[in-house]
Symmetry: C6
Amino acid sequence: MTSWLPTLITATPEEGYELAIKLSRVAVKATQPDADIRDRLRPEYAEDAEALIAVSHVVATHFATVAAANDYWRQTE
Amino acid sequence: MTSWLPTLITATPEEGYELAIKLSRVAVKATQPDADIRDRLRPEYAEDAEALIAVSHVVATHFATVAAANDYWRQTE
Amino acid sequence: MTSWLPTLITATPEEGYELAIKLSRVAVKATQPDADIRDRLRPEYAEDAEALIAVSHVVATHFATVAAANDYWRQTE
Amino acid sequence: MTSWLPTLITATPEEGYELAIKLSRVAVKATQPDADIRDRLRPEYAEDAEALIAVSHVVATHFATVAAANDYWRQTE
Amino acid sequence: MTSWLPTLITATPEEGYELAIKLSRVAVKATQPDADIRDRLRPEYAEDAEALIAVSHVVATHFATVAAANDYWRQTE
Amino acid sequence: MTSWLPTLITATPEEGYELAIKLSRVAVKATQPDADIRDRLRPEYAEDAEALIAVSHVVATHFATVAAANDYWRQTE
């Protein structure tokens, strides 16, 4: 079985950011495993400014971790 | 008696993420030890978008700690 | 007089987690020193999903500090 | 195709701050890709004090990452 | 004129925690300089569970900084 | 043109704290550039306990960054 998270290392900052988004979503799935309920909730937060900002905060927290893991991609400079 | 948290070291990032989820749940149990009340509260947050995002934020904070503890699993690259 | 916080060093990760819970509670006591009022507020947050998640977030922030202080208990591996 | 995030390295702290603002906005776009809906939500948060503070918190989290990536621009002293 | 914050170094973890509480309060004073208004707001948050938890979160964030500044008071072990 | 943020280095912890307050405000200005609207919102948060605590949290996050940039002002001990 392949892992959904084999590594925190990414080739570029942009891929690191995408990984941060993924990391923020997996916890939601783990807490609410029912895809139908999640689909029902989606418009509730995707059209709510405060919820979107909160999502962005979670991504920022994960991005800090991914960036540190990649030594801030300094080697690719 | 075995500890629920013998170590922060995990074999893979994915296991580290699962540990972060566990770490986020234990504080809830410590604050509300009554399992019946927790069960009653579960639908309240598992079907509420803002609560799910907040849960995801707690997981992100713990994941940062677990990832640092594991030196971001760089050795397993 | 003994200190309520003589050190951040703990023997195990589990004890570090318990210290993080303690650290999160002391700030509440410092802000609301009246034990009767705190007792009255307890059901308000212990039976409220969002408040429990918020408590868990504070614990996560303190646990990051305690874990770093203990070098993530790597020596006990 | 050019990346929207080729590097976390910036010439100055001010540019680093601007990058942090950008990083905070991209997660919102990723969660709500519809520009019309985002435009409709804009007044909702741009004229709401709590939302503006929440935005500022996300920027602060990203700025911490960008500042660390740039070793706090100490070399430019 | 003496500074309200001459140093982040404290003799003990407990004093570091007290400094974190102080750091969390000064920003409130800077944003609302009117002492009468702050006094009026005090019962509003000191008797509100969610506000007390939020205060505790700010203290946790500052405590992380003070603890790092003091190298987690490891030398005093 | 002079930069509003030429450096993160400050002479003292107190000046570092003032810089953290400034950093927390600039993101609000960037999100709501209209000074009249910001002035209208000011009483909304300056007289609201939860908003003041939220502001203090943003300052704490920035202060962590500024303190790290200055190596916690240990040299000035």
